[in-house]
């Protein structure tokens, strides 16, 4: 070789390094795609490629229609989010939570409002017509669609994706799992069909909230409990739905303050940081309200100076002095709570695959007083969240966190009231994180995570097909199933595990569900439901979905208990759940 330059890498050495790391052959397509990256590829090469690939799928999916597209008079979630940008940049802060509640009134916590304000300001620089007060309602400018899609992606790349990358790295390092597996798990997590379909196609900013929760989870992995509370407060402040995780996070944080020995300083630190974060979060709203009242701007100009009773403790609100300096704060607080937690609404809104909606198929719940139902719902939710919270409280181990979060979120999804189809993203997020854990890519865990995710998107199908999103639904969910080697594209994950009774039962049950979903899709596409029961297909979807989610809850709980080894000191060593 006369050349003064040598090739940067010798191919032979490569093969050697690869041979050492190789298990044999890829087990499922996603492994095959990352196969060339084993061993010697730097993260600076592989991470940008993964992030570009998942970004491309997000953007391409966003070319499809959004919820409420060309669907007057109310449009949908897209209009809600756009409208919030319009009111936050167009109105004084004290009016945000009061303005024309009939047209997508703001009903998310303040961080969403601030986020909308920021996006609205940026958007107005490009085209002020997009967010012009009142005149922009229901606007359908294609350029605005591009802007809105971009805001979802940018928000996700600022919050959810860094949080996911950091979480995956910390969690895998903690458990001694090699990088290559971490990349596979990360790609699988970022290609989750549910989040792409809901955020980037149907339109919402769930990943911002989920990203804060992930940041909170990865702070726990790093042992930074105060940061964990800051992030969790931000998640709550962005979307109240993060409350699904609150009991488990609370139990865990309490646990680390008590076990193995009581650590009061840590407890006080966490408590203070949480309180301060809440205060900082709400402060702009309060200060703005005070400043507005000082300037003589009324929160409810439509009343022409008359004061309406507050929405909370209405019967006592006449005792308040409307001219007191603190009145605007009380008014904002009451309105915020009233808007964010709509207790007044029913047990469930639309058809959603949870316990109540399924029960409603069997017995009409409408004949019972709503207070009774609310209590029953509270009681059942508490019962269902107690075991996982107890386990994570007594055994506050970092590696148990995703399971505990998934179990409590499933409990909330199944039993609490006012649940929306989209809320299934909450239990799915921590459950999907199990892919990063020990044996996360094994047939068993992969099949459970896949089962939950595919069932989850399936229950969202009625929501998506209402806005003609069948094709992105089929493409993204089948693609994910394909990448992870799951039914209906491959049954490889179910080849093993038939040797034990639990394995048999689990595989049979999963396959029955998959078969039902497939048949359901064929029926739904070809036959119209009987005239007397126009909702029959949706009801079947909801019923089967809720049973499947119930099974996911039980599996998460069982795995949590088994992994925590809580029962081992009782002498009843669980049979290590052969399926584990």
């Amino acid at each position: 070789m006369s050349s003064p330059h040598k090739p940067r890498r010798k191919p032979k050495k490569q093969l050697g390094a690869e041979g050492a790391a190789s298990s044999a052959t890829p087990n499922f397509p996603l492994e095959a795609f990352l196969w060339p990256a084993r061993g010697f590829v730097s993260q600076w090469e592989i991470l940008p490629l993964i992030l570009m690939a998942v970004g491309l799928f997000r953007w391409a999916a966003g070319l499809w229609g959004y919820s409420g597209f060309q669907n007057p008079p109310m449009h949908g979630d897209y209009e809600a989010q756009r409208h919030w940008m319009e009111i936050t940049i167009g109105l004084p802060i004290s009016q945000w939570y009061f303005h024309d509640l009939e047209w997508w009134g703001l009903d998310y916590p303040p961080l969403t409002a601030y986020h909308s304000w920021l996006l609205g300001k940026i958007g107005s620089l490009i085209d002020p017509a997009w967010f012009a007060l009142r005149s922009s309602r229901g606007i359908e400018d294609p350029a605005l669609k591009v802007f809105m899609r971009a805001t979802v992606i940018v928000s996700e790349y600022f919050i959810y994706i860094p949080a996911a990358v950091i979480f995956v790295r910390r969690f895998t390092r903690l458990q001694g799992i090699n990088h290559w597996h971490a990349w596979i798990a990360l790609t699988a997590i970022l290609m989750q069909p549910g989040t792409i379909l809901i955020d980037h196609v149907h339109f919402q900013y769930n990943t911002v909230m989920l990203g804060f929760v992930l940041a909170c989870m990865s702070s726990i992995q790093a042992g930074r409990y105060m940061w964990c509370s800051v992030f969790f407060v931000m998640a709550l402040g962005f979307k109240q739905m993060a409350l699904y995780y609150a009991p488990a996070i609370f139990a865990f944080l309490l646990g680390v303050c008590i076990f193995p020995r009581i650590n009061l300083a840590r407890f006080l630190g966490i408590a203070t940081v949480t309180a301060v974060s809440f205060a900082v979060l709400i402060l702009p709203l309060y200060l703005g309200a005070l400043y507005d009242s000082y300037r003589g701007i009324d929160a409810r100009p439509e009343l022409f100076g008359h004061k309406a009773p507050l929405p909370l403790f209405t019967e006592h609100s006449f005792r308040l002095d409307h001219n007191a300096w603190y009145y605007p704060i009380l008014q904002q607080t009451a309105q915020l709570i009233h808007r964010v937690f709509p207790f007044a609404r029913g047990l469930f809104e639309d058809k959603v695959a949870n316990f109540w909606c399924t029960l409603n198929i069997l017995i009409k719940l409408r004949k019972y007083p709503s207070e009774l139902l609310q209590r029953a719902s509270l009681l059942l939710t508490l019962t269902a969240i107690t075991p996982p919270c107890f386990v994570i409280f007594v055994k506050p181990k970092k590696e148990l966190l995703p399971l505990a979060l998934a179990t409590t979120a499933w409990a909330f999804f199944l039993f609490s009231f006012q649940v929306h189809e989209k809320s299934v993203l909450l239990p799915l997020m921590p459950m999907t994180m199990l892919l990063t854990g020990k044996n996360g890519l094994s047939d068993n865990i992969r099949s459970w995570v896949g089962f939950a995710n595919l069932l989850g998107v399936w229950t969202m199908f009625p929501l998506l097909q209402r806005v003609d999103l069948r094709i992105p639904y089929y493409v993204l969910s089948l693609l994910w199933a394909y990448l992870l080697g799951l039914p209906p594209t491959s049954f490889a994950a179910y080849k093993t595990g038939w040797s034990t009774w639990t394995g048999c039962a689990m595989s049979t049950m999963h396959l029955l569900f998959y078969a039902f979903m497939a048949v359901w899709h064929v029926v739904e596409a070809t036959l119209s439901p009987p005239a007397t029961k126009p909702d029959l297909w949706v009801v079947a979807n909801v019923g089967v979905g809720s049973i499947g989610f119930g099974i996911c809850y039980l599996w998460c709980l069982w795995t949590l208990v088994a992994e925590s080894k809580l029962l081992s000191f009782l002498g009843t060593q669980p049979k290590k759940a052969k399926s584990l």
């Binding site: 070789m1 006369s2 050349s3 003064p4 330059h5 040598k6 090739p7 940067r8 890498r9 191919p11 490569q14 190789s22 044999a24 052959t25 890829p26 397509p29 492994e31 095959a32 795609f33 196969w35 060339p36 090469e45 940008p48 490629l49 570009m52 690939a53 970004g55 491309l56 799928f57 953007w59 391409a60 999916a61 070319l63 499809w64 229609g65 294609p142 350029a143 669609k145 591009v146 899609r149 971009a150 094709i471 992105p472 493409v475 993204l476 089948l478 693609l479 394909y482 990448l483």
Partner: protein
């Protein structure tokens, strides 16, 4: 076959998912062109195909493509019969979009099969690099932008080209290769640009003896000749019988178009036009005469009739002669060394010559260079050195095809994704050359790739911020001049590699 992971089929599945998601993306007038062809082949007797002119997008592909459209139109009826009406101009119902986009994806299976065959036919030591090259073609941003967004059937056509090139690898299938290429010519006549290489290769490797050129293999020559006559007869026969050949040719070769295409394909003439523009400002100082008429021409550079202010006019004959000249040079080597690698090199160089010197070249034609080159780009690092600027320039030059905001992230991120992934992979897979490499060329290609980043940023973002809607030609001109430098540079580099290996 763990070493060949991910497999071609796996990549095809994921790429298909992405392409289906792109169904609602921007589509150019080519979509309407092909819809119109579906309609006219379906509803009119064959006699009238080349006379029909209800739509401005008349049939201007050779007969096999018309038959191809006719075949698809039989299925189109099931999707939406409305799209098959000739007067239904600009018709694009959802069913029509789904159907036409789906035909692009399905016919691309020919490419998948051809690439599979390419990897299978490679000697075991070259299987890994060949596999990487095959994936790079399958996932090519060029095909994604042109076929799946802009809309055309290049995946299918280049699939046939690769199939034919792969079949040329073995003595036993050389005849099939030649006939397949003849059929390809009857599908799309742009491949005529590659025909000289085929002619020389088939002549030397198939019709003349391996030892001596005077040892003519008559049987082979007769087989090939008859075969080609049959293929062309099947395509043009009916039209010859109806005496429509002059009309057909006038549709296929519309010489009335200008030297440069609307967006300035990055070739020698783009550099020539750029120089002319610069000279407008310099000419008074240098004392050169300036053609005032050309300066004031509103359309200059943008639409067909390019006219030059300072430099001499370029005629079609000049472009034709220079193209042929630069095609013949590599063919001399091919004639004396008719190996498969040289043949692919010669095909590539024929593509280069036609792209760089041709008349009214469209930037899409860069695939004529990139795709055959990809097949041999991994032979060693010197080939790769010439391929790299081409990969950057060729794909960046396609960006102006898509100008809508929604497709901007797709074209840029996908191209960057592809470049990062495959240039890194190729870098690892290409073996060191046995010959010393050319210092300057290497540095040139690195510098060149680095310049692309600020340039793309300027053209896609900064220009709008600074100038708004005015001076729209500026980014186009920068891009095409930049790309032209890359294509010319890689051409020169490859010529050196071709003649020294």
């Amino acid at each position: 076959m763990a070493e060949l992971s991910p497999s071609i089929a796996q990549c095809a599945v994921v790429a298909t998912a992405f392409k289906v998601l792109l169904f609602p993306a921007y589509k150019s007038t080519d979509f309407e062109v092909h819809r119109n062809w579906l309609a006219l082949t379906n509803s009119l007797p064959t006699k009238e195909w080349y006379y029909e002119k209800t739509s401005e997008w008349t049939l201007d592909y050779p007969p096999f493509f018309a038959y191809f459209e006719w075949t698809m139109s039989q299925f189109a009826r099931l999707a939406d019969p409305e799209m098959l009406k000739v007067y239904n101009l600009e018709y694009d119902s959802w069913q029509t979009v789904y159907f036409q986009r789906a035909t692009v994806i399905l016919t691309e299976l020919v490419l998948v099969y051809a690439l599979h065959l390419f990897v299978q036919s490679a000697p075991p030591s070259l299987r890994r690099p060949s596999h990487a090259a095959a994936l790079s073609i399958l996932l090519s941003p060029g095909l994604l932008i042109i076929d799946h967004i802009h809309f055309q059937y290049n995946g299918f056509l280049y699939g046939l080209l690769i199939l034919s090139l792969v079949l040329a690898r073995k003595k036993s299938t050389t005849l099939v290769s030649g006939l397949l290429f003849a059929a390809l010519l009857c599908l799309k006549h742009i491949y005529l640009y590659l025909a000289p290489a085929y002619f020389v290769f088939l002549l030397r490797a198939y019709c003349l003896g391996p030892k001596s050129i005077f040892h003519i293999q008559f049987l082979n020559a007769i087989k090939l000749g008859t075969g080609i006559i049959v293929v062309f007869g099947a395509a043009f026969g009916p039209f010859a019988y109806w005496q429509q050949i002059p009309q057909l040719l006038s549709r296929l070769f519309p010489f009335s178009r200008g030297l440069c295409h609307a967006y300035w394909a990055p070739n020698v003439w783009a550099m020539y036009s750029f120089t002319d523009r610069v000279l407008i400002y310099l000419a008074p100082r240098l004392g050169l005469p300036v053609n005032q008429e050309a300066i004031n021409s509103v359309t200059r550079g943008l639409v067909g009739d390019t006219s030059f202010a300072v430099l001499p006019e370029i005629t079609a004959r000049m472009t034709f002669i220079s193209t042929l000249f630069f095609q013949i040079i590599p063919l001399i080597k091919l004639f004396f060394d008719p190996s498969w690698e040289t043949f692919i090199g010669a095909v590539t160089l024929c593509g280069y010559a036609s792209f760089l010197f041709g008349w009214h070249v469209h930037e899409k034609a860069i695939l004529l260079v990139i795709i055959p080159f990809s097949l041999i780009a991994l032979r060693d690092r010197r080939y790769l050195g010439a391929f790299r600027p081409l990969a950057v320039a060729g794909h960046v030059s396609l960006f102006p095809l898509l100008f809508t905001a929604a497709e901007f992230p797709i074209k840029t991120v996908y191209t960057i994704f592809w470049l990062v992934m495959f240039l890194l992979a190729f870098d690892r897979l290409a073996p060191a050359s046995t010959r010393s490499r050319i210092f300057l060329l290497d540095r040139f290609s690195f510098l060149y790739i680095a310049v692309s980043i600020p340039l793309i940023v300027y053209c896609s973002l900064l220009h709008q911020v600074i100038f708004g809607k005015s001076m729209e030609f500026l980014p186009l001109m920068f891009m095409s001049s930049y790309a032209a430098v890359g294509v010319v540079g890689s051409w020169v580099g490859f010529l050196v590699v071709y003649f020294t290996s």
